[in-house]
């Protein structure tokens, strides 16, 4: 087996996930939030592939590909909404989109 040990992958993935989560929590632009979600998804992908390689099974890679597909569709929907918001001159600020407040 070549390359770094599995611990490094886990740590990197954890860092990436934390970065993404922090981004979702503290940023207000929907574009950045979408970006941060992508980072979190890819952190998960990284972990999936790393463990797949460790165990010599292909299951993790299959999952990773489907996660990419989900992420791609999510970006399509999310970006579409953001473009629509921009066209209607809605502020691109998630804190102002509070119509669903209880």
């Amino acid at each position: 087996m070549h390359g770094p040990d599995i611990q490094w992958y886990v740590v990197l993935s954890g860092l990436l996930f934390a970065t993404g989560a922090l981004g979702v929590m503290i940023r207000r632009s929907p574009l950045i939030i979408l970006l941060s979600i992508e980072i979190m998804l890819n952190a998960a992908n990284l972990l999936l592939i790393a463990f797949s390689r460790l165990h010599g099974h292909e299951d993790g890679q299959v999952f990773a590909i489907s996660v990419m597909a989900v992420a791609a569709s999510e970006v399509v929907v999310g970006l579409g909404m953001i473009v629509a918001m921009g066209r209607r001159n809605v502020d691109l600020d998630v804190d102002k989109l509070r119509t669903l407040r209880g």
């Binding site: 804190d95 989109l97 509070r98 119509t99 669903l100 209880g102």
Partner: protein
Amino acid sequence: MSSAAWICLVLPLASALAITLAGTRISRRTAGYISTVTTMGSFAAAAVAFFEMAGRSGGSRVSVTTSWTWLQAGPYHFGLSLLVDQLSVLMMLIVAGVGGLIIAYSVGYMDGEDEERRYFAYMSLFVFSMLLLVQGGNLLLLLAGWGMVGLSSYLLIGFHQDRPVAIAAAKKAFIMNAFGDATMVLALFLLVQKTGGLDYASVFAAAPHGGAAANLIALGLLGGAVAKSAQIPLHTWLPDAMEGPTPVSALIHAATMVTAGVYLIVRCHPLFENAYAVQDLAAGLGAATIVMAGLIALVQTDIKRVIAYSTMSQIGYMFVGAGLGAYPNAMFHLMTHAFFKALLFMAAGLVIHAVAHEQDIRKLRGVGKLMPQTRIVFLVGSLALVGIPPFAGFFSKDSILSAALDHGTYGYVLFAAGQLGALLTGLYTFRLFFIVFTGEPSAFAREHFHAHHGSEGPLSMRWTVGVLGLLSAIGGFLQFATVWHPLTDWLEPVARPIVDATAGQETVGSILAVGLGLLGIGVAWAIYAAGKAKAPRALPLFEKKFYWDELYNAVWYRSGDLLARGLDALVERPLILGSLSAVTGGAGLGGRGLGRVQNGLVRSYVLALAAGLAVLAVVFLSAR
């Protein structure tokens, strides 16, 4: 014999069904004719059964036919069976005969009334119900007929559906009767438990003697009889039932309804003889009703109500007779009463029909001068009611009074009540007669009287009244106590009397009763015809009918009302409504509280997610 009895029973039912199903395809007049012809046919069948029975010797006169087993429950079998014996054939003749005359009379009386077809269908149903009651071969069928009689009376009393008073009267009659039905059903439950069936023969053979069970059974049956026959304390429905059309009143009073109680006591006399205290109670209630109804009748101003109270009083005599054990006398009085009471109602109906449907005797004053024929038949009916020889009431009523003399000290009390009743009967009957049928016609009567094509009423009304007048005049000669007594002999195998008045007692009873009746007539004449004395002021006690309605109002309505209000204030509002509003209030409060969490800030949701994830991670890691 039994086939004739089946025909007798089924014809009125067929008529009711036919009229109902035919609906508007037949004319209103045709419906009347169908009903009349079938009821008369029923009478003919009853007569055939009677003659067939008379042709047989004593032992083979009773026949029970079962067409099919109606109800089977474990060891109990209840067949749809008819019992044809001396007693039921007598009742069949009375019910179908008098009923047929009354329905024939209705053809004229109800002419032009809306919904005549419905009326005649109900009338046929009524006759069928009563025939089922008297012909039923077991107590269950009797109960079925009993309930159907109550139903038919409800339908007919409330015939004028647009009048709230009539509806109220119908409901009152039905509820009072339902009360009696309930006590009867309880008695039948006890009988089934004690004797294992409801067939007359087996019940009478196995019924308990004395003790609580026998008394309770008799008491339950008496409750039914008292309600159906309008005796104290379940009598208040009868005067209100006058809201029905006049022929309905005649039918209820003469043929089909109020006599059922007397029939029940006579039919079930072995059960009552096993509980002599209850039998004495029946006689006592009858005696009390005689006097009370007589007193109330003195002050009534509605022509039909006076006659209604006289019915209560006369049924009281029958109860005294049945309670004493003088069953043939009670049945004899039932028969003559059917004649003269139907006659009185129908003669009153002629007056009401001719004078713009007015029933107030103060307005009808002196109408007899305009209707001389009606005056004669009404006089015949009145004399028969008071019991003046040779009219029918004399023979039947006096024999009941004489029988009371053969019953010890208690008998004397009953005798005294009956004699007082005779005096009152003379007084109130002839008060009515003198006011309505003698003297100069009032302005109202003159103005509203209209002759029917030059006569006093349609032909159908006149001939039926004539027949009943004849029967009231001569019907009593069927039996003259101690001299000849074919009715007593006829009924002996079914209902053997347990009292037997001697010739001396008969003489004393009769002379006293006739004397008092004549005295009553004389007083009525002095006050209301000759004007020799001023009419005494009506006592409020009598006008308010001894406050029975007020009593029931206070005991049942007010207490129920009070209970309902109390429950509303103490249970409904604080407990049920309170708990409901607590539940809804709690849900609202919780919703408002939880709603605050939903603040619309995506970041806070994500924080909650992350926190949840962290907690889960810690839990799983530490649990490993």
